[in-house]
């Protein structure tokens, strides 16, 4: 059977597009926009095709250089990674359209090339079946995100960017320490092979394995902004350019994906060395992340910080759902993952519209922009009619039989109230009262603290900000079929043997 070369395209295509855009089109921003949009649309088509090919439950693999696993690097396309690819490309399309519409790409250099590299890294992280290759793709998406984070410059943004870089450099170092430990214990880096070795591990090596797995959890916790590793997120997200922050909504999900992949496949609760150790850790981390996010939403003085803390709260909710560990729990977690990505993107894009529509008159924007903010707040807080409500309902339902049900329910419901109050308070103060300059977005202040002239809002930017909203509405209307697909995805995740068999061949379980 000839290999299915479509699997490598979500990695290769953005990489080539980025190089072409950086080399050949560096002076022509219109050409860059056209290429970038065309590539993203093509990526949606490819991801959708790959997604459909996994719907029957097959797990496709792609052996790079035709090296047989576990010796070569292998890309694995199962239901979860196909879904994440589709999510990434849809989000990227909305963000690229917004960037082209709002002119963010003319405020600095090489936006589209960096963005394509970032998409490449994210897609690669979702596809790879090799632990060290996961590290490499993490670095690719990080180094591109450093460039995007400081896009358009400015002192405060560069300093926030530096914090972000240092935090992630420390994280990368820890990732390598974890890889070294795991390789020393298991003698392999292929995730499927590692899963087999972990199961039949010598009892004397179990402590070392747990150490490596724990360091790895810290690394993914930094990416996912899980308590107590969440401190970098508010400063980074609120100081990043708004469309970049909107796309960063997928970055925290990469951390959540990596946790889900490694701790369902390699360090699964069935193996004697691990047990429920990590699930037990995820629950308090999720509860505390949610709590701090909600408190931050209540206390944030400015809209970008409000949005950043709401991202934190949504990551907390996601981690709680992951920690339930059952099929219904995973289904709820995946649904909430889809929802919170689109909701965070919608919120950040709307905040940029808000910032752009403020002129020198310090007048609060009204009409359409205010209505969009209201809709984004509803989505983020998880109120009906948008999909956040469905997501939280699924999580509450899934945790009904969990031993800590009372804790989970009270925390999710209580923090929902806090988030609603926070958004209502800040929103009504912002949109209904005359503003004082202190509330203005830093984007709109010159170094003396005076508001600068507004960037003209173009209709394309408004249209683009509707993309995540449209996806949220779609997710709400199609909640039934989506949940059915996600339930199958969760079932596949809970049967790691099928993944291992797809990678290593049918006899793999017997050696």
């Amino acid at each position: 059977m000839s290999p299915n070369h479509w699997i490598i395209l979500p990695v290769v295509m953005p990489a080539m597009m980025a190089a072409v855009m950086a080399m050949a089109m560096r002076h022509d921003v219109v050409l860059q926009r056209v290429f970038s949009l065309a590539a993203t649309v093509a990526l949606i088509a490819i991801s959708a095709g790959l997604f459909i090919s996994t719907l029957d439950g097959t797990i496709h693999t792609y052996q790079l250089g035709d090296w047989v696993p576990p010796f070569g690097i292998v890309l694995v396309l199962d239901r979860l990674s196909a879904m994440m690819l589709l999510l990434t490309s849809l989000l990227a399309a909305g963000v690229i359209l917004y960037v082209a519409g709002s002119g963010w790409d003319t405020r600095g250099w090489h936006f589209h090339a960096l963005f394509a590299f970032q998409v490449m890294g994210v897609n690669g992280a979702f596809l790879t079946g090799d632990a060290f290759n996961l590290f490499v793709f993490f670095e690719i998406l990080l180094i591109a995100s450093y460039g995007l984070m400081i896009h358009a410059g400015g002192g405060i943004r560069l300093r926030a960017g530096l914090q972000y870089v240092v935090m992630n450099l420390a994280g990368s170092t820890l990732f390598l320490f974890a890889m070294g430990t795991l390789y020393a214990v298991t003698g392999t880096l292929n995730m499927a092979d590692m899963a087999l070795r972990v199961r039949e591990l010598d009892p004397g090596d179990q402590a070392l394995l747990r150490t490596g797995a724990m360091i790895l959890l810290i690394v993914f916790g930094i990416k996912a902004a899980a308590f107590p590793l969440q401190f970098w997120l508010p400063g980074t997200y609120s100081n990043a350019p708004a469309p970049v922050a909107a796309f960063f909504a997928i970055m925290t999900k990469v951390g959540a994906y990596a946790i889900l992949r490694m701790y369902s496949l390699v360090f699964s609760p069935e193996s004697a060395a691990i047990g429920t150790f990590f699930l037990d850790l995820l629950l308090p981390a999720g509860l505390l992340t949610l709590f701090f996010g909600a408190i931050g939403v209540l206390g944030a003085k400015q809209l970008p910080r409000l949005a950043s803390f709401s991202v934190l709260a949504s990551m907390g909710t996601l981690l709680i759902a992951l920690s339930i560990g059952t099929q219904t729990g995973l289904t709820a977690a995946l649904f909430y993952l889809l929802h919170s990505t689109f909701a965070a993107a919608a919120l950040f894009l709307v905040l940029d519209l808000v910032a752009d529509s403020q002129g020198p008159t310090i007048r609060a924007p009204g009409g359409l922009v205010a209505a969009l903010f209201f809709a984004a707040a509803i989505a983020v807080a998880g109120m009906p009619p948008l999909s956040g409500f469905v997501g939280k309902l699924l999580i509450l339902d899934a945790s009904r039989d969990a031993p800590q049900m009372a804790l989970i329910w009270s925390m999710i419901l209580g923090t929902s109230l806090l988030v609603i109050v926070g958004f209502a308070m800040r929103g009504s103060r912002y949109f209904w009262k005359p503003l004082d300059p202190g509330f203005a977005n830093p984007e709109n202040l010159d170094p003396d603290g005076n508001p600068v002239a507004a960037h003209p809002i173009r209709s394309l930017a408004i249209t683009a900000s509707f993309v995540p909203f449209a996806l949220l509405v779609l997710l709400t209307i199609a909640a039934g079929p989506v949940t059915a697909v996600l339930s199958d995805t969760a079932a596949q995740l809970l049967e790691p043997d099928r993944y291992i068999e797809a990678v290593l061949g049918p006899q793999s379980g017997e050696h």
Partner: protein, 138 residues
């Protein structure tokens, strides 16, 4: 030999951790560089320490050392080199834009939670230093 290498890696890591907890960007970047050096040594040791053994096929040799960690270290060196360069450039840009080379995001110079003894010898009198950008970025 194992003990010696472990002590070296441990000391180097401790130094790196101490440096990234400092306030100024220069020492933080040196700290991350130290950390990457020590993780490179650590990765090297993860394939067990072996002396005088080739990593690739050589005629007439029976014992080999594990070649994989060497490939990993090579990858890690390249990546950490690039990352350090990016960090230096961003730190330099942040310093030139705002005249502060502190790693924290404090905006209000009156809000010093600094140890008062720490400032005089670190601050150049010609350097406006701790003057924060104006306007409330809270």
């Amino acid at each position: 030999m194992e003990a010696l290498l472990a002590i070296v890696i441990g000391l180097q890591t401790a130094g790196g951790v101490y440096l990234i907890l400092r306030r100024r960007t220069f020492s933080v970047i040196i700290g991350t560089a130290l950390l990457t050096y020590s993780v490179n040594l650590f990765l090297f040791a993860s394939g067990r320490l072996a002396i005088d053994m080739p990593p690739i096929y050589t005629p007439g040799v029976e014992n080999y050392t594990d070649p994989l960690p060497q490939a990993l270290v090579l990858t890690a060196i390249v990546i950490s080199f690039g990352m350090t360069a990016v960090a230096v450039l961003i730190a330099l840009g942040a310093y030139l834009e705002s005249d502060i080379d502190h790693i924290d995001l404090r905006r209000d110079p009156n809000d010093l939670d600094l140890d008062p003894d720490e400032i005089p010898w670190e601050q150049d009198p010609r350097d406006p230093g701790l003057e924060a950008p104006k306007g409330d970025f809270g």
